[in-house]
């Protein structure tokens, strides 16, 4: 066993455990925390794969802000737990069986049969995933999509505000007018 493989095995184990933990935790807060750990661990993998910029973004955006948002909402709603009464009997079993079948299919045909078990990942070039390189690509070649994502975020912000406003007394501003029309 090579040290790299040991490291990968360790990281992979953590990834899987945290993922499973996220899914099976009864308490939503635990789930969120498991997911944060999961994201952080995956960020390590990005580092290994020579993508430091993405790794940082992963931690700051995903593990940071998004998960904070999750936690915030969980707290806000006080919805850590649900009244337990499963309506869909057999759903759990079926889901697991199908999941396993799916995994086998993916592993068998997507990974093993495709020959990826024998092709190594080439060592990353030092500058390949560096922030400058990503930045250059983003602001030159992908400038337009980049701007579009900005717009998407704007729209999402507006949408989120509109959705959470609730049924306030009518005021004269645009959003109220729009929401009334749609209502």
């Amino acid at each position: 066993m090579l040290p790299g493989e040991i490291l990968f095995g360790f990281i992979g184990l953590v990834v899987v455990i945290t993922a499973v933990g996220m899914v099976i935790s009864r308490n939503a807060i635990y789930s969120a925390l498991f997911l944060v750990s999961n994201f952080t661990t995956v960020a390590l993998l990005y580092l290994i794969l020579g993508a430091p910029f993405i790794a940082v973004v992963q931690i700051s955006v995903y593990a940071g802000s998004i998960m904070v948002l999750f936690l915030f909402v969980i707290m806000l709603l006080g919805a850590e737990r649900l009244a337990a009464k499963e309506k869909l009997q057999g759903q759990r079993l079926l889901a697991v069986i199908l999941g396993v079948v799916f995994l086998v299919e993916l592993g068998l045909f997507g990974v093993w049969k495709a020959g990826y078990m024998t092709t190594p990942v080439p060592p990353a070039a030092a500058t390949a995933g560096a922030p400058e390189a990503v930045g250059m690509a983003l602001f030159t070649q992908y400038a337009l999509p980049f701007e579009v994502t900005g717009f998407i975020l704007l729209v999402a912000t507006v949408g989120a505000i509109l959705l959470t406003r609730g049924d306030k007394p009518a005021s004269k501003d645009l959003i109220t007018a729009v929401s009334e029309k749609e209502g």
Binding site: Q91, A95, V101, K113
Partner: protein
């Protein structure tokens, strides 16, 4: 016609005016009549009819000068494919004769109606309809003129349907009156629908004509008729028989006569003009006009002849047992039309036309006099009820002969003209009816003894029921207070009556034996008419027979005094037969049971079970099926997102497996 030279006289171009003049009259009345009052309306309408008569006279004089066929093309009409039809008028002796009758008798009746309708609209409580009456009346003259002046079957058909429309309008003139308030409206509808059955025949005849002759104009068809009769006799037979159906409808022959008695719901001038003198004779005119076709197929002649003769007798029997003064005349009209149809069936076209003319005179006279009687009775009724129960609804029927009697003293003029008309109708020499009927009888004797027997029986019954009518109405003592107080009608009514009486008396002069004026006049149009020499035996015999019948009528009805409630003297001896006669042989009931009710049932069945439940049911059933299928399928939509995702995953797994194994 076939051999006649074309008439180039400029007078021919006057012929559209026989149509335009009534049109002008009716438009003036329509637009201005309301404002200008009754006198104006009556005058305009009568003048329009008179002017048309004037045109007809000019045409007649022209034709007398140079016999021939004049044609006038007014306007193109339907020109498509092989159809090439125009508004073409035809001036020949036959059409001009008809024009003279229509406009002449029509004018007299117009004048009569100006007075008659004046009191009729008041009696019926709606004076505003005075104008409407004359608009319809002029419209009728217009349509009838189109009918008789047409140069093609299609244009004839225009007039044919047009007069039917006028008949409808005028029968339903008092559309809210009659039994239950609906009887008049129903009678109008019946007349139109029954006529439509006849028109159906005429339409089919025209289709056959068109596809076999490639034309609908008289000359072209008649020119080819002999050739086609050689090549395809069946076609000509079919054409003539379909035409006979049209004739039966319009001229109220068996089996389509049922509408005419009901048509008496119209005001009396209508009965006189449309349902006695002119419109109903259109069928006779049609057969005479189509004589070149009928001459080719003896079988069709036979059919026409038998229909006519049977109708003559059949209707005469019914007339014997009727109590309504106008109903008697109506059945008499049917019967006399039967005489004419039988005559034209025997190819005695001139005799038929002759009887048509004289019948127009005396039957118009009889109807108008009957109208005068009715008016007199209405006045008498109003007079006798003045002061007491004037507003009370009573069921006095001024047309029921049982309420009359003894009118000869109170209505002298009416009595005398009525008597002349009745005698003319009964065929007493030397009145007009004698000559014309005699020609038909002579021709019948010449053609077929069976027909002769039918017709002579009908003639006997004719004299009998006219005798019965005259005795019931004018002789004896009044059988009601109304009859006691009846008053003579004003001059505007009696003057046309006197004129018509003169015509009825002297009309025979048109075609006196040995001289045959009408014969020579019409032979330009009707070359192959059967002419039978005056037969003295028949003439004397028929007069004697008629006198016997009148004597019998006197013995039954005139000899002793009757009361209004007495049963008819014939009821006891004839028993069930009399009831059958009184109920018109239950023909109406028969049609009701065989045609009307089954059609109604069929239509209800079609619209109910078939349309709503059946066809629409299938359509809606398809909708229901979709609805049901969707209802079953929608259960798949559990509403649980997780289930959907599971299904999606299942699909993904399957697809992956599919891709992998391929």
């Amino acid at each position: 016609m076939l051999l006649s030279e074309t008439l180039q006289n400029p007078a021919v171009s006057l012929v559209p005016w026989v149509v335009f003049l009534p049109l002008i009259g009716l438009v003036i009345n329509l637009v201005l009549g309301q404002r200008l009052g009754e006198k104006f309306v009556g005058a305009v309408a009568s003048l329009a009819a008179l002017a048309a008569f004037g045109v007809a006279v000019v045409l007649a004089v022209t034709l007398a000068g140079e016999p021939g066929v004049g044609k006038f093309h007014l306007l193109d009409w339907i020109q498509v494919g092989g159809l090439n039809l125009g508004w073409d008028f035809r001036v020949d002796t036959l059409s001009v004769t008809m024009m003279l009758v229509v406009a002449g008798v029509g004018s007299l009746i117009h004048i009569y109606a100006t007075a008659y309708m004046h009191s009729d609209v008041r009696h019926n409580g709606d004076p505003s309809r005075y104008r409407r009456f004359f608009v319809y009346f002029n419209l009728f003259i217009l349509a009838m003129m189109i009918l008789v002046s047409a140069d093609s079957y299609l244009m004839l058909f225009v007039g044919w349907e047009g007069v039917g429309l006028c008949s409808y309008l005028l029968i339903g003139f008092w559309f809210e009156k009659g039994a239950d308030g609906t009887a008049n409206a129903k009678a109008a509808k019946k007349a139109f629908v029954v006529n439509r059955v006849g028109d159906f025949g005429l339409l089919l005849a025209m289709f056959l004509l068109f596809w076999n002759f490639k034309s609908l104009s008289f000359d072209e068809i008649f020119a080819q008729a002999p050739a086609l009769a050689q090549a395809a006799p069946g076609v000509v037979l079919a054409v003539t028989l379909f035409m006979l159906l049209g004739v039966a409808g319009k001229s109220a022959q068996l089996p389509l006569f049922v509408w005419l008695p009901d048509a008496m719901a119209g005001p009396t001038p209508v009965s006189a003009l449309i349902h006695a003198a002119t419109m109903v004779t259109a069928g006779v005119y049609l057969v005479a006009r189509s004589s070149p076709l009928y001459l080719e197929v003896p079988a069709a002649q036979q059919a026409v002849m038998w229909v006519g003769a049977l109708t003559a007798l059949f209707a005469a029997t019914i007339a014997v047992a009727q109590n309504d003064i106008k109903k008697v005349l109506a059945y008499s009209t049917i019967s006399q039309l039967g005489f004419m149809v039988a005559a034209v069936g025997m190819t005695a076209y001139v005799a038929g036309m002759f009887h048509l003319i004289t019948h127009a005179f005396f039957k118009a006279l009889l109807f108008l006099s009957a109208g005068s009687v009715i008016l007199g009775l209405e006045h008498g009724h109003a007079h006798s009820h003045n002061g007491h129960n004037g507003h009370e609804e009573d069921h006095f029927d001024p047309q029921d002969m049982r309420n009359m009697g003894g009118l000869q003293g109170r209505m002298k003029t009416t009595f005398w003209v009525y008597l002349i008309g009745a005698l003319a109708l009964a065929g007493i020499a030397p009145l007009s009816g004698f000559f014309s009927k005699d020609e038909i009888l002579a021709a019948a004797l010449h053609t077929s003894p069976a027909i002769f027997a039918l017709l002579i029986a009908a003639a006997f019954l004719t004299a009998f029921y006219m005798g019965r009518q005259v005795f019931l109405v004018f002789f004896g003592r009044p059988r009601s207070t109304a009859a006691e107080h009846a008053v003579e009608s004003p001059a505007l009514i009696t003057v046309p009556l006197i004129l018509l009486a003169l015509l009825s008396a002297l009309g025979g002069a048109l075609n006196l034996p040995k001289i045959y004026t009408l014969e020579h006049w019409l032979e330009h149009s009707l070359q192959h008419s059967l002419v039978v020499e005056f037969n003295l035996t028949v003439a004397v015999g028929s007069v004697l027979l008629a006198l016997t019948a009148i004597a019998l009528a006197w013995w039954l009805y005139g000899k002793r005094q009757m009361r209004a409630s007495d049963p008819d003297p014939l009821a006891a001896p004839l028993g069930g037969l009399f009831r059958a006669l009184q109920n018109k042989w239950w023909v109406d009931e028969l049609y009701q049971a065989v045609i009307v009710r089954p059609y109604h049932a069929l239509a209800s069945w079609l619209s109910g079970p078939v349309d709503s439940t059946g066809i629409d049911g299938i359509a809606n059933g398809l909708g229901q099926l979709t609805h049901w299928a969707a209802g079953s399928l929608r259960r798949i939509q559990t509403g649980y997102v997780r289930t959907y995702v599971l299904v999606v995953l299942f699909g993904v797994v399957l697809m992956l497996a599919f891709l992998a194994f391929n």
